[in-house]
Symmetry: C2
Subunit: 361 residues, 2 copies
Amino acid sequence: MSLAALLDSLPVPIIQAPMVGASLDALTLAVSRAGGLGTYAIATLSPAEIGPAIAAVKAVTTAPFGVNLLMAPKAEPDAAVVDAALARLAPWYAALGAPLPAAPNQFAQDFDAQLAAVVEAAPPMASFTFSILTPAQVDALHAAGTFVVGTATTVAEARAWAAVGADGICAQGFEAGGHRGHFLAETEASLVGTMALVATIRAAVELPVIAAGGIMDGRGVAAALALGASAAQMGTAFLLADEAVTSKPWRRAAETAGDDPTRLTRAFTGRHARGLENRFMREMKGVQDEVPAYPVQNRLTQPLRAAAAAAEDPEMLSLWAGQAVSLARPGAAGGLMRRWWAEAQQAAADLSARTAGRGRY
Amino acid sequence: MSLAALLDSLPVPIIQAPMVGASLDALTLAVSRAGGLGTYAIATLSPAEIGPAIAAVKAVTTAPFGVNLLMAPKAEPDAAVVDAALARLAPWYAALGAPLPAAPNQFAQDFDAQLAAVVEAAPPMASFTFSILTPAQVDALHAAGTFVVGTATTVAEARAWAAVGADGICAQGFEAGGHRGHFLAETEASLVGTMALVATIRAAVELPVIAAGGIMDGRGVAAALALGASAAQMGTAFLLADEAVTSKPWRRAAETAGDDPTRLTRAFTGRHARGLENRFMREMKGVQDEVPAYPVQNRLTQPLRAAAAAAEDPEMLSLWAGQAVSLARPGAAGGLMRRWWAEAQQAAADLSARTAGRGRY
């Protein structure tokens, strides 16, 4: 079976986006059981935890699901860099009454070991973000029976994933919440709206394209399919789902977001990501290009963000969200998906009526 | 009749975007005659020229059409500002062997006089970009029988247009080529992808929404309609049309654009706009925030761009284009539209088949 056939066989062509901090196995399972394809965000799991985590999902469902890894570069920053970054964060830790952490020994999980654990556990699908696999790594996943999806923010990145043998492309549009997945060019040169990105990637590579960014309801799903995507990936749309583990202040911020509330920021993690603008983003904006690159800054702000979440303070916490977050709705994931699919069917019927009745020159 | 009813009555729900420098009345007429709605870019016409220009279109077609005005602020820059800006441009003029222009007396057409001429000429539709009309100005257009469309890049701008009585919103997504139309917040806070922008504006205002940005073919048209737009606005898709007046080097650059070729720049006009990246954009990037605001810089680079076009030098010319420009195709506008509409009908049929056959839980 091909990935295209798998996606085409889904009762509902909706993929739940991996969201570190907001989605765990419960959401993945709920989405896959409701006829979509859930993606388990396993980037923060240690290599030893990955096998059991994937086995646990496999044990309770025969539905297809995916896992996602973030390909963090190996970080061995100078002590002075870490000290300076911590010094800059000190007032924020102090404001929360949280202790400034010591310089960590490790800044992210070891990707090669994580990948080996994924190959061993053989999930139906695995997607990758922030960099690109080698052809040998893709082959290893294929030998395990795992489909490989590469995240691309540009046509060039989609071509690169096709060249290493990926089975499909997740086209991450400008609208998407959370981290940008670019890996070839700088951030600014890697910002393409979902509408343009899906159309141009589809024209450039022969692989199935998964549309991501700005898809919040059944109309969005229908639009993604009309564009030629094989499935619609939705993350922010699941942020308020019962099965999401979105923290209280993050959830409340998403529920009460005003018009046009998101911005890109590098301040929280050292890599550009989209979230609801808050005080940390505003006040760090002028120095965001100076913080150490991901994963270093990400690791150094983790205790700060955990403390802010515990204190229910939305101003010092990363509130990742996509551009149309105001359309997010609460409820059980399965119920949300049923509603979206009914909306998509209605949108398809409306579109058919509109196109059939026109075009008489 | 309402604007919604007018758009719904179009044989093909495609609006040709106004493109100063690339579109004139010939393209407007071709699109309207082919069942769409052409928009005549009259921003550079003097108030005295506007009446006859609109009358000439009315004389040869009963099909609906629109006109577009750019609401340039009145500019009275200090002589020192103009001199400094010209000094910065001097090497570019010199490279083309073109004389450095004297400081102009006028930097843009007088908007109030242009608007009065439009009211007098009473075109079926008028759209406005860069700012917002007063309720009295909207009333005057309505009294003349002209529908008013406001360009919005954010939900807040759409709400503002609804509040002054506009009949519809042109939702200009991040992907769109040419000038950004924001007028409430700064550029960075006014960049929303088409997918998210159409969905959120549609949820926020009761007016018909025209989707613009990244729509390059029939699949894009179908996607825009599925999202709930009343029509799809296409500009870059017409850049290579026979009836477009796109200059030779601009046309060639669009035809040969590689992957992911556009960027936003402020360097050419003092207002952010999207175009194919060239030497002027790259070399002026570091100082683009220092050039005088639109319309001053726009006026000061006009002779440079005209000289570059005449010399067929694509490196010193604004090559406005949207993000999916690689999908632009040559041909007569009517033929392009027929092809896009057939594609949209096919996309609708495919979508119906996909949604009808799924969702069995």
